[in-house]
């Protein structure tokens, strides 16, 4: 596929790996967080970690909307589907997220709820227009990338007067999460890892541009490199971060210039501002309650806001005690540090959110990295024998 295959080229990858090895100073350590699940997935799937010198470590960030969605929000959706008889539409990503009482949207469907997987928010609106006698709720999740399409269907629903269509909005904001990783009191208590820089979001940045990250570079003295989601993009971004650290520079650089610019998609930003406003606070799995980190639907579109329409009240639900998703999402622990990993918790029967989405740190490591662990353990065993 054009503009994908070229950015997975093995010869170029070897060249970039050699450049990183050559330029990384053996006398120091480089800890970089890739914010996005898309980067986490690329790093695991293509074995990028194996191509890096031992002193360059990638820390997986919380940028997977499925992984950070708390149990209580999924409970709201399941409640609507099971008790209020709505047609509950959502992206495939949310279907297996574990909720209270061992439930998930998929299990609710098996219990008889009308849960439908859609490719696009527009499909959910189409279902509402085809079933005017039923209430249709779209469970919307996602970062800035996914918000503009939700804004468009909300505007369309209002314009067309689709009275039976509403949105349960869980759209969250990237910059707020990065601030939280860098300075929130919760993270200070719970701990975090020292970070030398960020691989910044690819497709989120197509919408918001590179400008919002300039604050982190200036205020927190952290280099940021916006990078595409292909393995070569990630490797080039790592090389650019190594160079910034070596040269003591802290600026925002854009590796993904084929799609991203400084301003982003201004039309999409205006649309999002018209339909949504900031929530005072929102609970994130792993990060806790983060102020002004999510969006809610404005009054003008209130008739299509499922929370108002059905009088929903959010109730926080604690995660499984043994689950380490919280620490893993902050880069404090690795998937293998969790007792549940690979035993009680697998992609087929996920207990924690990081195992649900293929972009979650645990699912990515389970699918691609655990064999490497086994080989390493085997080699250590052979040495001892």
């Amino acid at each position: 596929m054009k503009y994908v295959d070229e950015f997975r080229d093995a010869a170029l990858a070897r060249g970039l790996a050699a450049a990183i090895a050559r330029e990384a100073d053996p006398a120091r350590r480089y800890h970089f967080m890739e914010f996005c699940g898309g980067h986490t997935h690329a790093i695991s799937r293509y074995g990028v970690a194996d191509l890096l010198p031992a002193n360059v470590r990638m820390i997986h960030g919380p940028g997977c909307p499925v992984c950070v969605l708390p149990i209580g929000r999924i409970d709201l959706a399941i409640g609507l589907a099971l008790e209020r008889g709505v047609i509950l539409c959502s992206y495939g990503d949310t279907m297996r997220v574990p909720a209270s009482a061992g439930r998930s949207l998929l299990r609710a469907k098996a219990e008889g709820a009308d849960v439908r997987m859609v490719y696009s928010a527009a499909d959910a609106l189409r279902i509402a227009r085809a079933h005017p006698e039923r209430e249709v709720v779209f469970l919307a999740i996602g970062f800035e990338t996914t918000t503009p399409p939700t804004a468009l269907v909300l505007r369309e629903a209002r314009a067309l007067g689709v009275a039976n269509f509403s949105v349960l909005c869980n759209h969250v904001l990237t910059p707020a999460a990065i601030v939280n990783i860098l300075e929130s009191p919760e993270v200070r208590t719970l701990g975090t890892v020292p970070l030398d820089g960020f691989v910044g979001p690819a497709h989120v940045s197509t919408v918001i541009g590179t400008e919002p990250y300039e604050f982190f570079a200036q205020e927190y003295r952290k280099p940021v490199v916006i990078a595409g989601f292909e393995p070569l993009d990630v490797m080039q971004a790592i090389l650019m971060l190594v160079r910034q650290v070596n040269e003591r520079r802290c600026v925002v650089e854009n590796q993904f210039s084929r799609v991203v610019d400084r301003d982003g998609n201004v039309k999409a930003q205006a649309l999002v501002a018209e339909v949504f406003e900031l929530r005072r606070e929102f609970e994130w799995r792993g990060l806790g309650t983060v102020p002004y980190s999510a969006l809610r639907i404005r009054d003008a579109f209130g008739a299509h806001d499922a929370e108002r329409r059905f009088g929903l009240v959010y109730q926080a639900v604690p995660d499984n005690k043994a689950c380490e998703c919280g620490a893993i999402l902050r880069g404090l622990k690795r998937p293998v540090d969790c007792k549940l990993f690979g035993g009680a918790c697998t992609p087929e029967t996920p207990m924690g959110s990081c195992m649900v989405s293929s972009e979650g740190a645990c699912a990515a490591h389970y699918s691609y990295g655990r064999f490497r662990d086994r080989e390493a353990a085997g080699a250590a065993e052979a040495l001892r024998a």
Partner: protein, 77 residues
């Protein structure tokens, strides 16, 4: 979740829609979020919506920079 794929616009259709080609597969998407698109333009597509243009010249420049990084200037000198 934020995955977006590169696609070529085959033709624009009424109602802010377009037919795209993704590695030989054709699909209808919305282009309501990106103004001024024309056939043969490249875009990145997310959940059925074009989010941004893809600039072929910038893509080529990025690949050239990657290739140049792989050349060890010290070893050549």
């Amino acid at each position: 979740m934020c995955l977006a794929i590169p696609a070529r616009i085959v033709r624009l259709e009424p109602g802010d829609q377009a037919l795209i080609d993704v590695g030989g597969i054709r699909k209808q998407i919305s282009v309501a979020l990106v103004d001024g698109l024309a056939p043969d333009d490249w875009v990145v597509v997310h959940v059925g919506y074009a989010l941004a243009r893809l600039d072929p010249a910038a893509a080529a420049a990025t690949l050239a920079t990657m290739a140049a990084a792989g050349i060890d200037a010290g070893a050549l000198a």
